[in-house]
């Protein structure tokens, strides 16, 4: 009843919200978009790479069994629904009638083969799923081909069995790396890839058999941009229609994150890390350098986990020594310069190492500054992904495990708040701001969106005639 009441309240409050804009003219079928991206994936296999271009191409060409809705719960995609048994340890997914781009029907065997491929991928979500599925860890480690926790009872159903009843066990399947592909590698996404020019250009055409219905656009062309500064002129000239930048569609979807290496001096001392956290004024960054940002010191953007103000306040101090700082190229230069200035004021000598967004996490530096977005926009998985970047204390790990295993949504949310605060209070992950991810669009483009993972979604995009 309490949950019912909450739903009722949500509906009532939603009714009081501002009116949405409706298209008198559209949506309209037809037309095409040219999208500029800074990087293109070398391959079309799902989840093979990270980056803006790879994320976009994966969203266009591939489809997953489940998605994640705006509330962070798994939502139907190729799976039309699911049921549980054995006290929440067994999950049966029923597939919709769907087809791959090559015309073959999507079967449970395809879904199972794709899950096996996913479990052995480098995806964090795959690692998380492998931890829970019966036999998943051994399978992921390559210690055998047996995977007891995955069964195909018939052509339209697959069954996942877990060692214990987990909370939101299907969420990892929303990772693009978990997309379902056919025996020959065909995807089932809203657009069919064609005519790639590796590293430079990829054309995709509308897939009439998409599970959500044919997309509005006839064609999408993804092209590599020489550099971000050319976006305004490229859009003004009509050579591209959408590209990273402002103004346009925007969503608070990334965290500007400073990661300190606790295994290397001077950040091996918790006090030094706390001093760094205390020294950098996130509010100042947002006010002056990150328009539309949110300065609340939280690891996740508010839509994933609203900041509650839990956790310790860092104590100011002085830190001396030399530190190398890897800075991802997608961090606005003015923001990284301000961070370096704060670190210098602390007493550190900082050497900046520019890094690509794809490699910054692996940079062998004392600290890394990057725009972080989760692989799957679900608060629990996102926190676990962040925790995997550090070596959290046993107490923090315990908090996080308790949150991830919690099946009651309200209790899970409360535990996630505590886990987030515990993770942050180790001062290894220092969130500086929640940052909008923006795409500049030419006038007349509608329906394009940015999801909570910071990815451009063009499935419902349409253009004015």
């Amino acid at each position: 009843m309490r949950r019912r009441a909450l739903c009722a309240a949500t509906a009532a409050l939603a009714a009081l919200g501002p009116l949405l804009l409706h298209a008198a003219l559209g949506p309209r079928y037809g037309g095409e978009l040219r999208v500029g991206v800074p990087d293109m994936p070398a391959a079309l296999e799902p989840g093979s790479e990270r980056g803006i271009g790879a994320g976009l191409v994966a969203m266009l060409a591939h489809e997953t069994l489940v998605g994640v809705d705006e509330a962070g719960f798994p939502a139907p995609a190729l799976a039309q629904g699911w049921s549980t048994a054995a006290g929440g340890r067994e999950w049966t997914l029923r597939l919709r009638d769907a087809a791959f781009h090559d015309g073959r029907p999507v079967s449970a065997a395809d879904a199972a083969r794709s899950i096996r491929r996913f479990l052995r991928s480098s995806s964090f979500a795959a690692a998380r799923l492998a931890e829970g599925v019966d036999g998943g860890a051994a399978f992921r480690a390559g210690r055998g081909e047996e995977l007891a926790g995955l069964a195909v009872p018939d052509a339209k159903r697959i069954v996942l069995r877990f060692a214990q009843a987990p909370g939101l066990p299907l969420a990892p399947l929303a990772a693009t790396a978990a997309a379902v592909t056919g025996p020959a590698g065909a995807g089932a996404g809203p657009f069919v890839p064609a005519a790639p020019v590796p590293g430079r250009r990829l054309a995709l055409t509308a897939f009439a058999g998409h599970v959500g219905g044919r997309p509005y656009l006839d064609r999408v062309e993804v092209v590599t941009l020489p550099d971000g500064s050319s976006v305004p002129s490229e859009i003004a000239s009509g050579r591209i229609d959408v590209a990273p930048g402002e103004p346009g569609i925007s969503r608070l979807a990334a965290t500007l994150l400073l990661i300190l290496d606790p295994s290397r001096p001077p950040f091996d001392r918790p006090a030094a890390r706390a001093a760094v956290a205390a020294a950098i004024d996130g509010g100042d960054l947002v006010r002056h350098l990150i328009p539309g940002g949110d300065a609340a010191p939280a690891l996740l953007v508010p839509a994933l986990l609203p900041p509650l103000g839990l956790g310790e306040t860092p104590i100011a101090g002085r830190v001396t020594g030399t530190a190398t700082l890897a800075v991802s190229l997608d961090v606005p230069p003015v923001a990284s310069q301000r961070v370096v200035a704060h670190l210098t004021t602390l007493g550190l000598r900082v050497a900046v190492v520019p890094s690509s967004p794809a490699t910054v996490l692996a940079a062998p530096t004392h600290a890394r500054l990057l725009m972080w977005t989760p692989e799957v926009p679900e608060a629990g998985l996102a926190l676990a992904e962040l925790a995997a970047l550090t070596h959290p204390s046993p107490a923090t790990r315990e908090e996080l495990t308790a949150a991830l295993d919690e099946t009651d949504p309200a209790r899970r949310r409360a535990r996630l708040h505590r886990a987030e605060a515990a993770l942050r209070s180790e001062w290894v992950l220092v969130p500086l701001a929640s940052v909008p991810v923006s795409y500049r669009t030419r006038p007349g483009v509608h329906g394009a969106a940015v999801d909570l993972g910071g990815r451009l979604v063009l499935e419902d995009a349409w253009v004015e005639p």
Binding site: M1, R2, R4, A5, L6, A8, A9, A11, A12, L13, A15, L16, G17, L19, L20, L21, H22, A23, A24, L25, G26, P27, R28, Y29, G30, D97, A208, H210, V211, G212, G213, R214, P215, Y216, G444, H446, D460, E464, P465
Partner: protein, 394 residues
Amino acid sequence: MSVLHPASCTAAAVFVFAAAAAAPTAAPLARLADTLASEIAASAHGSAIEVATPEDRTGSGGSLALDLASLLRARLEGRVRLASSGPRIRVDSVLAEAPGRLWVSARLTEEPGGRLVDVLAAWAESDPMLLSLVPAGPASGAGPLAVVAFRRTPPVEGRVLDVAPVGEDRVLVLYEAALALYRLDEAGLALLSRRELPAPTLPVRFPGGTIFLAPAEGAAWVLTSRSPHAVLFALDGGHLEERQQADALFWPRTPRGLRYRPGTNLLEGTVADLGDGPFLRLDARGAALTADGRLWVGSAEGPRAIDVRAGGGLARPAPELIAIAGGDPPASRDAVRLLDARDPGRPPLQSLPIDGAVRALGARGTSAKMRLVAAVDEERGTHLVLIDLAPLTP
């Protein structure tokens, strides 16, 4: 009933499910007033009560909120002391609607001072057999026609693809998976009959649907882009009766009929004087909206493109009038534009502003009396809007 206690304040939120408690025959607004009055009385603890007029978010232009305030005061009389000055509890509320139900959320504050005492919310199920009609009165716009009545329903369940007034008092509504026939009476649109369309329903992101009403209005062909077959329904004494299925939709002067381009809302077929399409909408008297939202009119020489941009609706309220939905980019308001059928390229004779986006238009009438029915999408769902028109000068 459930009570929530936010940690940050002492207020409680009480959520009441009126439908379970109230008599099912009472009007939803009356049931809503019953329930809310009981909860207010329970929260008052002997204090005087002031009922402010609710903020109306139903799109009724405030009439429903005024009715609710009156009903509420009537039900509180004798149970609490009503006052508008001195120490009292003030009830500020918002009335809203969602498909199938009416909502009210109310804030109770202590006056003077403004301390929050309680938060109440209640809802009442609508009668599933009746789409009530309330006046919804945007300005009629300057022009030769007077708006005799402008009424709208609450949000309907599901997406509406096409609408068609039938006779003096009936309306056909084509939903994604069903056809429904309503009778218009004083209370609203009463459901007479509803028939499901042939399965399987195909996934279409923004489906299209078309009703072709036979000239004698005794039968209607319907086709949607989600359904594999067109269906002929007889409108027999208030009942819909399926008579025939076909691969294509019957359409005048279209030998092979019309089909939807798979997965879209675009009609294809060779229509005499109009060509092969694709068409967004067609009018049986020889006008069409093209896929890019342009108006075409048929002629012996072939289709003539008119420099008019339109949205998703096309209808004929009278032989000499063409009604189209506005063709502007996304906005929270739309319009029905009335064009002179003899020269549709001229500026509209009249423009009727509408809150939301017009998705479908149907019309019938003569030069003396016209009725427009529109399916209008807005945030809370799809409403049906009925507009009765008559010439300002006979």
